[in-house]
Symmetry: C2
Subunit: 216 residues, 2 copies
């Protein structure tokens, strides 16, 4: 549609319809869950069910938030709640990339979207050094895992592949990029850690004006 | 900071510190206000005070969300609440641009950030045609106005300038881009209207990792 500049008409909507509705539906459902002030166990249970539904399909994440970096794993914020009750992050692992051993200080849910990752829990020994706690879990697409100070908060996450990208979608009980937490070097004391985010722009989940339309 | 690819370190944060903290603070304060389930009059009163504080300074809006279009006024979504209780939009008027006469169906607050605009209220006559209701208000930077079905929901907004850009920050009691509402042509029946948004990416307000830092 093209109209002369003088006509006070709203702009035409972009022709392309983003497939991002599943993420929007997840945000609304998660916010509605938290509106009920559930305890952490219920958040983990019902939140995991919502996240499992989100990562049951891999057709909605925009490419800009699925792009790996040659050196660093990427943490793309996808949505943050108005009062920072929760945040949603796309973690993109390049081949062979892994996190340091770290904590969260809040509940976290991990939903595997693409590829696979190893999730190795850790506990602290008497000297405060991190030691592996059981075997690593291998997460395949569709799988969901949880962390929290209640059930075990320390882990290291690694791309299961050294020749391809893996992506998982994480949900946390805070604006995780701003949380003051820690990494745990194997040979020294824990270090203060504020992760930040890799992205300066977020996807616009909220354009419902094209719902029900098919672009030509 | 550069580290070898093998080290499992988080990525360094971007060097530049965006000045977007005032918008983040506004979002958190507005969400906290709505958590108290205020009635519309209180939202207008306390929400207007919050918005007045936000538009009292013009140093925080990223350029990408302040860019005019040669033909159409732009509606850049800046934030949407998880359960769509509210949304925040940057309206960018090119020289001489104006909206159609339109309604909202929900409360709306308008905070003037840059330039100036005319806000002309309308009412419907017995035949359902829009007629001006009083004189237009000229909004100067820092001013806040309100609309709603309770206090008057129809208006037309125009850039007060024909040679420069004007920008106002709007807050609505819904995900306004998806609301089914109406425009009111002066010579015919009202028309269905879903505005959508001009942008596919939102600013990332949420990176608190650089708070207190000054980049070199
Ligand atoms: Fe983690
Ligand atoms: Fe309006
Ligand atoms: Mg609430």
């Amino acid at each position: 549609m093209t109209v002369p500049a003088a006509l006070p008409l709203p702009a035409p909507v972009p022709a392309e319809t983003p497939a991002i509705a599943p993420l929007r539906d997840f945000v609304v459902a998660f916010g509605t869950l938290l509106d009920q002030s559930p305890d952490e166990a219920r958040i983990r249970e019902e939140g995991s069910a919502l996240l499992a539904r989100l990562v049951a399909r891999d057709d909605w994440l925009p490419e800009a938030f699925a792009a790996p970096h040659p050196t660093y794993y990427q943490q793309y914020l996808l949505h943050a709640d108005s009062t920072e009750r929760f945040s949603i992050v796309s973690f993109v692992w390049g081949p062979g990339q892994k996190t340091p051993i770290h904590d969260h200080t809040v509940w976290g849910l991990i939903g595997m979207l693409r590829g696979a990752e190893y999730n190795q829990p850790f506990a602290l020994d008497a000297a405060g050094r991190p030691v592996p706690s059981g075997d690593p879990d291998r997460l395949e697409p569709g799988a969901v895992a949880a962390v929290s100070p209640t059930i075990g908060d320390l882990h290291r996450v690694s791309n299961a592949f050294d020749d391809r990208v893996s992506i998982s979608i994480h949900v946390y009980g805070a604006n995780i990029g701003g949380v003051h937490r820690h990494t745990y070097p194997e040979d020294g004391p824990r270090k203060p850690f504020v992760s930040g985010y890799s992205n300066t722009t977020l996807p616009n989940l909220w354009d419902r004006s094209k719902e029900g339309r098919r672009s030509a």
